[in-house]
C-alpha cells in the first residue's frame, strides 16, 4: 500500500461524449504544458492542436477546417492527421508528432509554423505506419522522437534529430532485451495487414522525456511494461517501473524528475479483446515514480470521482503544469481531468 500525497480532483474539461467546438475534445491523446502552465492538447480525432488555459478555456487551435466548418485532417503545413505526440521545448516552441502524416511539425509559441520533417518508411528519418508518438528535447536543441512499427515489421526505435530536423541517430528496435522496445508482443511480419492504416500494435517506445537533473532520456516501453532510461547517445542505462506500471504511454517529468506515466487500465489478458473489464483500484492509470523508480503515488478511478471513462475510453495522456507543479492534467476518454497533488 502506497501512502502518498493527497490527490484532489479539481475539474474536468470537455463533454464526456467528446465534441469539436473550441474547448471540446475528441480523444485528446497527448498533453503538454508550456512555461506559463497553459496546456497544449493533441486533440487526436479532431486533427487539431488546442491551447487551453489551466482552467480549460480555449485559447487557440491549429489544424485544417473542412468545408463544413468542422475540424478536418490535412497534409499542408499546420494541418494534421490523427496525432498523439505533442511537446513543448524550453523556449515554448510547440512540436507535434503528426502521426498519420508520418512527420513532426514545429511551431513557435504563438502557433506560427516553423518547420517539418519526416516521412513514412523504415529508413533513417522516416517513421512507421502509426507515425511518430512521443517527443522530447535536450539542452542542445536535439529532438527525440519515438517511432512506431512499419508494414515491414518494427521500427520501434527512438530517433534523434538536430534542431533543423536532420537525422542524427536512431536506437532501440523491437525486442524485450534492455534497450529495446515493444517486444512483449511477437513481431509479426507486417502489422497493418489486418487492422489497417495506423494500427498501433506492438506499441513502444511511446512517451519520451529528458530529465532536467540527470540529463537522461526516459522512454516508456508500453508493451514491455517498463520505462527505460538512456543517455543522450542512446546507451541503455537502466529500466524502472517494472512490476509497478502497466502499459505506460505518455510520460512527463517535473523539476524533481519525478516521472508521471499514464497507462491503460486493462489487464494484459483482456486488453483489446472483448468487453473492457470493470475498473478497479488495481487497474491504475497514472503512476508517479521517483527517478529511481520508487512508486510515490497513483491516481486511479477512486480519485477520478466517476469521471473515469472506462467504456473504451483511453487514458494515455498526462502533463504536469510547468508553472504550478502541483497541477496534473490527465486524459480520461474525451475529457481532460485536472488534479492537484498535495505533496
Amino acid at each position: 500500500m502506497v501512502t502518498g500525497p493527497g490527490i484532489e480532483l479539481l475539474s474536468a474539461f470537455g463533454p464526456k461524449q467528446g465534441g469539436h467546438l473550441p474547448g471540446q475534445f475528441h480523444n485528446p491523446e497527448g498533453l503538454a504544458s508550456d512555461s506559463r502552465g497553459r496546456i497544449l492538447v493533441a486533440d487526436e480525432t479532431n486533427h487539431r492542436v488546442q491551447r487551453i488555459s489551466p482552467d480549460g478555456e480555449p485559447l487557440w487551435s491549429l489544424g485544417a477546417v473542412g468545408a463544413d466548418g468542422r475540424p478536418s485532417h490535412g497534409t499542408a503545413p499546420g494541418q494534421f492527421f490523427m496525432f498523439r505526440g505533442i511537446g513543448v521545448d524550453a523556449d515554448d516552441n510547440l512540436f507535434v508528432g503528426d502521426s498519420w502524416n508520418n512527420r513532426v511539425q514545429k511551431f513557435d509559441s504563438v502557433g506560427s509554423f516553423r518547420m517539418m520533417f519526416g516521412s513514412c518508411g523504415n529508413k533513417p528519418g522516416q517513421f512507421g505506419g502509426a507515425g511518430p508518438n512521443g517527443l522530447a528535447f535536450d539542452a542542445d536543441g536535439h529532438i527525440y522522437v519515438s517511432d512506431t512499427h512499419t508494414y515491414l515489421g518494427g521500427n520501434n526505435r527512438v530517433q534523434k534529430f538536430d534542431h533543423r530536423g536532420r537525422f542524427v541517430a536512431a536506437f532501440g528496435g523491437h525486442g524485450e532485451e534492455p534497450g529495446r522496445f515493444a517486444g512483449r508482443s511477437p513481431l509479426r511480419g507486417r502489422y497493418g495487414h489486418e487492422i489497417g492504416r495506423g494500427a498501433t500494435s506492438p506499441e513502444g517506445p511511446y512517451g519520451l522525456a529528458v530529465g532536467p537533473i540527470s540529463g537522461h532520456l526516459y522512454a516508456s516501453d508500453t508493451e514491455n511494461n517498463r520505462i527505460q532510461v538512456f543517455d543522450l547517445q542512446g546507451n541503455f542505462l537502466r529500466s524502472i517501473g517494472g512490476g509497478a506500471v502497466f502499459q505506460p504511454r505518455q510520460i512527463c517529468l517535473d523539476s524533481r524528475e519525478n516521472i508521471y506515466a499514464a497507462g491503460f487500465h486493462c489487464p494484459p489478458d483482456v486488453a483489446g479483446i472483448g468487453p473492457v473489464v470493470p475498473v478497479g483500484p488495481q487497474h491504475r492509470f497514472l503512476w508517479i515514480l521517483s527517478k529511481d523508480g520508487d512508486l510515490l503515488a497513483t491516481i486511479t478511478a477512486d480519485e477520478a470521482d466517476g469521471m473515469f471513462d472506462h467504456a473504451g475510453g483511453r487514458h494515455h495522456a498526462v502533463a504536469v503544469s510547468r508553472s504550478d507543479e502541483g497541477l496534473v492534467f490527465i486524459q480520461a476518454g474525451h475529457r481532460i481531468l485536472k488534479f492537484r497533488v498535495h505533496w
Partner: protein
C-alpha cells in the same frame, strides 16, 4: 511521318554517373524555367540542381553526409529519390519528393517556401511510390500524379493550391477513359514491399499543361489541356475539362510513358520506353529479373495536340552512350524531358546519367 531534324547541342553530366558537382545519377525529371535555366531532379543523388543555359550549376539543394556525399533525408530541403519537378509562372520550383511522399516548393534561388503531403490514401496523401508527376496549370494550381498505396490504388491526379491545400482530384484505377494504371491487375502492393519500394502498377506519371490551349472556355473546369502519362496503360491522356471526352494518345507508338512536355503551339513530347516488343517478354537470361531493352527502345515521341504522331527525338549516337542495353530495370532509363521555354526548339532529354540538349527543327 517525316519527323523533325535533330542535332545534339550539348551533353551534361558524366556517362557513368556520380555525385560530383558536374555529375548526375539518373536525373529522371527536368523542368525549364522562364529564364532559360534547367531544373534537374537528380534522383539518385537525392538532390535538386539548377543549371544555367550553358549547363553550369547555379545551385543544388539536398542532404549530404559528413563526407559531403549526397544522401537521402527527411528534413526540409532534403529529398528521397525525387522523380518529378516543375516551375510556376514566377519560376518557383515544385519538387515531387517521391520517396518522402510529399511536395516541396522552392524560390528561384532554392530557398524552401513550403512543403506538403504524406503517405496514405486520404486527400492530400500519396501512394507508396510517392508523387511521380507534377505541373502547374493556368490558374497556378498544382497538379500531382499519385501512385498506388499499400491498400490498393490511388492512381489519381490531385490538385492543390500553391500553398498545398488540397482542392480535389480526378482519375481512378482502370483502363477506361479518365482512368490510370489499369493494365496490371491491382494487388495489395506494399504489403509485400512496404512504402516506397512496391512495384505497383504505375498509374499517372508525368503531367504537362498546355496553358495556351485554344479551347479555353468558361464551362471547362480545367481550361488548359492537361496531358498525363498513363504509364501502365501505355498511353497519354489529354484532359480538356470535365465535359469534353479525354484524348487518348499514343496507341501502338508509346510504351510505358513517364514524362510529358508540351509546346505552346500544342506539340506533345513523351518520354518513356517506346515500341519495345514484346515489352515484357525480353529477358536477359544472364540477369534474371532484369529487363533487356533494345538500343532503339528509348526515345522521345512527339504528337500533335490531338494525338497525331509527328516524329521522334533521339540520335543513335546518344543512344549508344546510354547504359540501358542490358537494362538495370525500368527505373534506370531516360525519362527526364523538358522544353526550353525561351526557345522551344531546344529539347532536354535524360539519357541514363546524362542530360542531352537537342535542337529539334520541324
Amino acid at each position: 511521318m517525316d519527323g523533325p531534324r535533330v542535332s545534339l547541342l550539348a551533353s551534361w553530366g558524366v556517362i557513368e554517373g556520380g555525385h560530383g558537382a558536374s555529375a548526375f545519377r539518373n536525373p529522371s525529371a527536368l523542368a525549364a524555367d522562364h529564364e532559360g535555366n534547367l531544373l534537374v531532379a537528380d534522383t539518385g543523388n537525392h538532390r535538386i540542381v539548377k543549371l544555367d543555359p550553358d549547363g553550369r550549376r547555379l545551385w543544388a539543394v539536398g542532404a549530404e553526409d559528413s563526407a559531403g556525399r549526397p544522401r537521402r533525408g527527411t528534413a526540409q530541403s532534403e529529398f528521397d529519390s525525387p522523380q518529378a519537378i516543375t516551375v510556376d509562372f514566377e519560376d518557383n520550383v515544385y519538387v515531387a519528393d517521391s520517396g518522402n511522399c510529399r511536395i516541396q516548393k522552392f524560390s528561384p534561388e532554392g530557398d524552401l517556401l513550403t512543403l506538403f503531403g504524406s503517405w496514405g490514401n486520404a486527400p492530400g496523401q500519396f501512394g507508396g511510390d510517392g508523387p511521380l508527376g507534377i505541373a502547374v496549370d493556368e490558374q497556378g494550381r498544382v497538379l500531382v500524379s499519385d501512385s498506388h498505396t499499400a491498400d490498393g490504388g490511388n492512381h489519381r491526379v490531385q490538385m492543390f493550391t500553391p500553398n498545398g491545400d488540397y482542392l480535389e482530384h480526378f482519375g481512378s484505377y482502370g483502363t477506361g477513359p479518365r482512368q490510370f494504371g489499369g493494365a496490371a491487375p491491382i494487388r495489395q502492393y506494399g504489403f509485400d514491399h512496404g512504402p516506397g519500394i512496391g512495384p505497383g502498377p504505375i498509374g499517372p506519371a508525368g503531367i504537362a499543361v498546355n496553358i495556351q490551349a485554344g479551347h479555353l472556355a468558361e464551362e471547362h473546369l480545367r481550361g488548359g489541356t492537361v496531358y498525363v502519362a498513363d504509364c501502365d496503360n501505355d498511353r497519354v491522356i489529354g484532359f480538356r475539362g470535365r465535359t469534353v471526352p479525354p484524348l487518348h494518345i499514343g496507341a501502338g507508338e508509346i510504351f510505358r510513358p513517364r514524362q510529358v512536355a508540351v509546346e505552346g503551339n500544342g506539340r506533345v513530347y513523351v518520354s518513356g520506353v517506346h515500341m519495345h516488343e514484346p515489352p515484357m517478354a525480353v529477358h536477359d537470361l544472364n540477369r534474371p529479373g532484369k529487363w533487356r531493352l533494345e538500343a532503339e527502345a528509348r526515345w522521345v515521341s512527339v504528337f500533335s495536340a490531338y494525338g497525331t504522331p509527328l516524329g521522334r527525338v533521339g540520335l543513335t549516337e546518344t543512344h549508344d552512350l546510354m547504359r540501358h542495353r542490358y537494362g538495370a530495370g525500368l527505373h534506370a532509363h531516360g525519362y527526364g524531358l523538358a522544353l526550353n521555354r525561351l526557345d522551344e526548339s531546344i529539347v532536354y532529354v535524360q539519357g541514363d546519367h546524362l542530360i542531352f540538349s537537342y535542337r529539334v527543327e520541324w
